[in-house]
Amino acid sequence: MNRISLPAPLREELSTIAVDGYPYETCGVLVGACADDEVRVEKVFQARNLNTERARDRYVLDPDDLMSADLAAREAGLEIVGFWHTHPDHPARPSETDRQAAWDGYSYVILSVSGARVEDLRSWRLNGEGFVEEQVAA
């Protein structure tokens, strides 16, 4: 099983954005470093969700925000290691829509959020055709 380390302050940063954004999906970029089968997240960025028509259950991460995160990552000697998004009132499991757009080699963190709080946070990696869950450590 792959492992992703997401330190508590970053996890809280994501939780705050997720709850503030509810009932709409929020999304962003995970920046850090990879070594073998371990990913270490060092910074999280929020990106705009360009899907305004179905913002409750879909997201399109603003590519300009992704480009900015990539520049910031490279300047810090880091790299984009994955992405995060929320599932308002849905489990933290990837949907078919998530699978269609996903790339092998990135971590996809999903936060299940209800009105008041984050119910669950899980991380996934595409392995060929399907997602495999990875272990989230602090």
Partner: protein, 94 residues
């Protein structure tokens, strides 16, 4: 012909001998990417379709501009420009 730096996203570096950047020459975005693809066909297959357009879940940036907002693959490039290959990220709960 201009010499351009092409930035490779982490998951595709395995198709480019681990390089994070590749220098290539061409007059426009499509020509530069094709030049990269001549040496790294598996990389190109993940970035461009057979018709020469970017794949659906790929964005190409010239400097800080998405080439989809310029002239796409026909956008001219200049000496020392930087092209970035990036994932187009989307999805949702349903």
């Amino acid at each position: 012909m201009s010499s351009v730096i092409v930035r490779i996203p982490t998951p595709l570096r395995g198709f480019a001998e681990g390089q994070s950047e590749i220098a290539a020459e061409g007059a426009d975005v499509g020509a530069v990417l094709s030049a990269v693809g001549a040496a790294h066909p598996e990389l190109l297959a993940r970035v461009m379709k057979d018709d020469g357009q970017p794949r659906e879940f790929v964005n190409i940036y010239l400097g800080s501009d998405n080439v989809r907002t310029l002239d796409g693959m026909d956008t001219p490039v200049g000496e020392g420009d930087v092209l970035s290959i990036l994932p187009a990220v989307a999805g949702g709960a349903e």
